[in-house]
């Protein structure tokens, strides 16, 4: 049973590179928190500071009601699963699992029972007498998860545990880990998880909440739905969602309607957008997800005109790459709504879904279209 609290955490590496810039994050007891962000944004650094493998330059980490800043990794009540498994190469799977308990000098029968139980849960019982090099990647990762599980830690830490597996296996391991988390929670065991990944599918499907990071700072912490629908800044908007949100530079002017000038066209939005705005004008980025652009019927007004540069047929949907002026847009159309005859001479007209557009301040990246009454 433990809550993880991080306060103003900072990390400066020995080469005086500042990797983490005073982040604060609360992970509730039993919560599955995903840290996600592009490569080099200090996800691993943060996780390793929680584990105690990296010294803390500033700030405070609390697990349960203990400040763990100066505790050795083994005393923090955490387990960690590494990207390349990090199984002890000279020990059989059985000893790999039991190593932590042996160090704690637990009685032998207890260790054996615990090993059996964990092996059962993860379906690795037939592998107990093998060496790590005799395991496939997926099996090795299951053993690594088992080694974390057996210690019944307060907090589980995962550092990109699935990135060495192929796509199919990754999907099944994803389900396995979330199932395991639910089960621990149901059984009343401690199941606080911090899970690092750079794969947004993993982040969106596994996380109770997601913490999006960039360059050692937290950009937003929210549940997947909020993150997708109400990104607080242009970075989160662009990072979450696939294909990426279209971000178009424009100039905002509110006078009665909401007008945004994009290159040589002006888009006008109605009340829905107007009510959400907390600024009245300025240089902005207009954000529209590819799924929220539809092909306009002939007589519809207020559409973006563009030129289709190429088309990808993906099966259930069609990706259109459209150039509006010198802005490249991606549009995703469900296959059944895609009619080639809508595109004449490569010209296409697109209408953004008003309830789903976002407007970001171009300088700060802040989402200015999130006002409360939206």
């Amino acid at each position: 049973m433990a809550r993880l609290q991080i306060r103003n955490l900072e990390k400066v590496y020995s080469n005086s590179f500042k990797a983490v810039h005073g982040i604060s994050l609360d992970v509730d007891d039993g919560e599955f928190m995903v840290l996600v962000g592009p490569s080099g944004c200090a996800k691993s650094t943060t996780l390793r500071m929680i584990a105690g493998l990296e010294t803390i330059t500033g700030g405070e980490i609390r697990i349960g009601d203990r400040i763990v800043n100066n505790l050795a990794p083994g005393q923090r009540g955490v387990s960690m699963v590494f990207q390349n498994y990090a199984l002890y190469p000279h020990m059989k799977v059985r000893s790999n699992l039991a190593f932590g308990l042996k160090l704690k000098r637990r009685p032998k029968p207890e260790i054996e029972d615990a090993t059996e139980a964990v092996a059962n849960t993860l379906e690795i019982d037939p592998l107990l007498d093998r060496l790590p090099k005799q395991l496939s990647g997926g099996q090795a990762q299951r053993v690594a998860v088992g080694r974390a599980l057996i210690k019944k830690p307060d907090v589980f830490l995962f550092d990109e545990p699935l990135s060495n597996l192929d796509a199919k296996l990754r999907a099944s391991m994803r389900v396995r880990i979330t199932d395991l988390h639910k089960r621990l929670k149901r059984e009343g065991q401690s199941s606080t998880v911090v899970y690092v990944t750079h794969d947004q599918t993993e982040a969106m499907t596994m996380g109770d909440r997601i913490c999006v990071m960039k360059d050692g700072c937290i950009m937003q912490v929210a549940d997947p739905v909020t993150l997708y629908n109400r990104p607080e800044n242009a970075f989160v908007a662009g990072f979450i969602g696939s294909p990426e949100m279209n971000l178009m530079e424009g100039t905002l002017a509110v006078n009665g309607g909401v007008n945004i000038r994009l290159a040589d066209q002006v888009l006008t939005f109605g009340e829905d957008v107007g009510n959400r705005l907390d600024v009245r004008g300025g240089e902005v980025l207009l954000g529209v997800r590819p799924q929220h652009l539809r092909i306009a019927a002939n007589d519809e007004e207020n559409a973006l005109e563009g030129h289709v540069s190429h088309i990808e047929f993906m099966g259930h949907e069609v990706y259109l790459y459209v150039d509006v002026g010198d802005i490249r847009l991606v549009v995703v159309v469900p296959s059944e709504q895609y009619h080639p005859e809508d595109i004449r001479d490569d010209r296409i007209r697109l209408i953004p879904r008003e309830t789903a557009v976002h407007i970001f301040d171009r300088e700060t990246g802040r989402n200015v279209s999130l006002s409360a009454n939206a």
């Binding site: 493998l53 050795a72 990794p73 083994g74 005393q75 960690m80 390349n84 000279h90 090099k133």
Partner: protein, 301 residues
């Protein structure tokens, strides 16, 4: 058969012919290669073979008969050689060698592993300078330190004991081994050690339970090198040991040259053969690890 042949086209026959020719060429070239290798190998091994052969000859035959097969094989060399001209038999000298080698090898393994672990895995003040010093001692000719070392051990009152032979090695004095282990450790990812720390192991436990087993191939090489080099070391015991009852084999062999007015070559050769036996046995027993240790720089993933 006959039918088959008639069905074959000339082209096929041609290709079959070139194929057979190719195969014959291949056979000839490998025969030449193996003959060459065997010849050179024999040349290299000849002194050893001659040594073994000569150890069964009588003293007079050694110089009369240049071949290596003794005309009248005799064990006299072994029997007399073993007795020696001193009050001690060779058994004493073997035992002394053993007494020098065992603590020295164990001390080397433990101290070098610990020091290499420290250098390879920890940041501490002065690390760069200390490491540079280590490498510098590696480049320093051994002879340079002989005299200061001798004076040091004399002042400590350690002369004519095994201590000067044991102690430097027990404090990782063999920079080469430390360096070799550091290189080996650098090639091993740190994840396993970090996993062990998260599992609750302290530094020493990580070293013993995780690092040493992963270092095993390299450590075995270190022990073997130390074993063989100590076995063959002549200068060290010569400088520090003065009483005959403490002599190791390397000195004892020389002893038989000194004390007899006419050299009993057959005895010396016989004892040399015996002196080779332990090193060769250990080498062949540990060959697998030895080669693994010096050829691979780490564990496979």
């Amino acid at each position: 058969m006959a039918e088959e042949i008639t069905v074959r086209t000339t082209a096929e026959l041609d290709s079959a012919r070139t194929l057979a020719e190719g195969r014959r060429m291949h056979a000839i070239s490998s025969a030449v290669r193996y003959a060459l290798l065997a010849g050179v190998g024999f040349l290299m091994l000849y002194p050893l073979i001659w040594l073994i052969g000569a150890s069964f000859k009588t003293n007079s035959e050694i110089f009369a008969n240049p071949g290596f097969i003794p005309s009248e094989p005799t064990l006299n060399g072994y029997i007399d050689g073993w007795r020696t001209s001193t009050p001690y038999t060779f058994a004493t000298f073997f035992w002394n060698t053993f007494l020098i080698i065992l603590p020295k090898t164990i001390g080397t393994a433990i101290s070098c592993a610990a020091v290499a672990y420290g250098f390879a895995r920890f940041e501490f003040p002065g690390k760069r300078i200390l490491f540079a010093t280590l490498i510098a001692t590696l480049l320093l000719p051994n002879v340079v330190t002989r005299i200061p070392q001798y004076l040091l051990f004399r002042d400590l009152g350690w002369l004519d004991s095994f201590l000067p032979l044991w102690v430097p090695s027990a404090f990782a004095g063999d920079a080469f081994f430390v360096f070799m282990l550091i290189q080996f450790l650098r090639a091993i990812p740190r994840d396993m050690e970090e996993a062990a720390r998260v599992d609750g192991a302290n530094t020493l436990q990580t070293l013993i339970y995780i690092v040493v087993p992963m270092l095993a191939p390299a450590l075995i090489s270190v022990c073997l090198f130390q074993f063989i080099w100590t076995m063959n070391d002549f200068l060290g015991p010569l400088i520090y040991l003065s009483s005959v009852d403490k002599y190791p084999i390397s000195l004892a062999l020389k002893l038989s040259i000194d004390t007899t007015e006419a050299f009993q070559w057959n005895r010396i050769l016989a004892m040399s053969v015996l002196a080779l036996v332990p090193a060769l046995t250990v080498f062949f027993l540990a060959q697998k690890y030895f080669i693994e240790g010096i050829s691979t720089g780490g564990v496979k993933g």
